[in-house]
Symmetry: none
Subunit: 218 residues, 2 copies
DNA sequence: CGCAAGATCAGGGTCGTCACCGATGGTGTG
DNA sequence: CACACCATCGGTGACGACCCTGATCTTGCG
């Protein structure tokens, strides 16, 4: 509400649509300083590290992995930078996922220019900003620890034994350790792992780790 | 911001200090309708079920179990009622705990009358309301980094670069992918990984995954 | 009973992982 | 200016991960 008008907020604008970036910039340029724009994940990562903006306006659906990927890659390396997700989507998965990655706010693109400026200011001050409907998602997920709708069809296709092996592998157990843990031979572990990788369409145990990590299965 | 001025919000005021209730009522009575007051958990539970107020102003420290107890007992039975915690405490445990129980907002008693009225309106509209400093607690906790107090001496001994590499390896990235990600050669990645494994006294990338997994670093 | 599917195991091969050896250049510090 | 520390690379070799192609045994089902 008060804020400083002399030193304007520095903002990085990340969206894959140039026209949208132009529109946003026109709407907020009077109140904040748009120091740069980025059109994909790699570009966004580089610009954040280079310019250290106070706030990053981040589109959720982005070439190269999405806005969440940007957060995972530079969020920890730019602790002073706040991320405000700006998306067309109001789907619970997108909202929750983005917040889990570390975003400080999430507003939809139906927002008006002045509202966006206010949101940027609040996020920069350390507050959290959500469109009214979206705040419910976050608090529900947090309070209910329901884990959203993790109905993974891929996971259902695994057999019980395969899921056991998968969990241990994803947590970093060596084949030998899994074998000892489950009282089976290394060769059997290999077979199960191969089945899991094939069913999940992955190509290595490392990808499996990332897959499980992304889904909070470990 | 807009809200309806004709049909005023119905509010239940819960606090064990009569004088404080009187003060709050005086501050907000012009803008909202305080339909009742309650001084302890049992009374609050009964009033909520009887009167179905739109918003419950809930003190966190309350005789009979605290504000969280009220939420756990009637929150699910009064889905239309929103709970706004109003407390002297700004301790992270209180904030997180109350939100976990289902509160839609949390403000400290340093708030002014008009601000409280605005907060009541926002909560009633489905928005989440937090004092700026408190929002950080909630999102940090939600993002899974509650255990930040895990000042691992081992982790401190890693260099910045080593931590970056470690994080990616633990998440399942192949050496090749880490190299590409950090713009360095595979050989350098190997060197860093070796340093990390030696410093953490681990013997493989898989043990590193488990190590990081156990510490919620990924 | 015939048959499918899951769990168990082996041999053999490719490729990534990791340690041990070495090297260079940049940085900060006594 | 030495000296330590860090980040960056290269070679070699042993070992594990992973795939492919087999196999036996049990369980459930029409």
């Amino acid at each position: 509400m008060n804020a400083t008008q002399s030193t304007r907020r520095t903002v990085l604008l990340v969206d894959d649509h140039a026209m949208f970036r132009t529109g946003v910039r026109a709407e907020i340029a009077d109140a904040v300083e748009v120091v740069a724009e980025a059109a994909d994940v790699d570009e966004a990562v580089a610009k954040v590290l280079e310019l250290r903006p106070e706030v990053v306006l981040l589109d959720v659906h982005l070439p190269g992995g999405g806005g969440g990927e940007v957060l995972r890659r530079v969020g920890h390396r730019a602790p002073e930078t706040k991320f405000l997700a700006l998306s067309v989507s109001d789907a619970a998965e997108d909202v929750i996922g983005t917040i889990r990655s570390g975003a400080r706010g999430y507003v939809t693109k139906t927002i008006t220019g002045p509202e966006l400026v206010a949101a940027i200011g609040r996020v920069a001050d350390g507050d959290a900003v959500f469109s009214p409907r979206l705040a419910g998602f976050v608090l529900d997920a947090f309070a209910g620890s329901i884990e959203v709708a993790q109905v993974d069809e891929d996971l259902d296709r695994l057999t019980e034994r395969e899921r056991e092996v998968m969990r241990l592998i994803a947590r970093g157990y060596a084949y030998k350790e899994v074998a000892k843990e489950l009282f089976i031979s290394i060769k059997t572990v290999e077979t199960h792992v191969s089945s899991v990788l094939r069913k999940l369409q992955l190509s290595s145990r490392h990808e499996l780790t990332r897959w499980a990590s992304d889904r909070r299965l470990i």
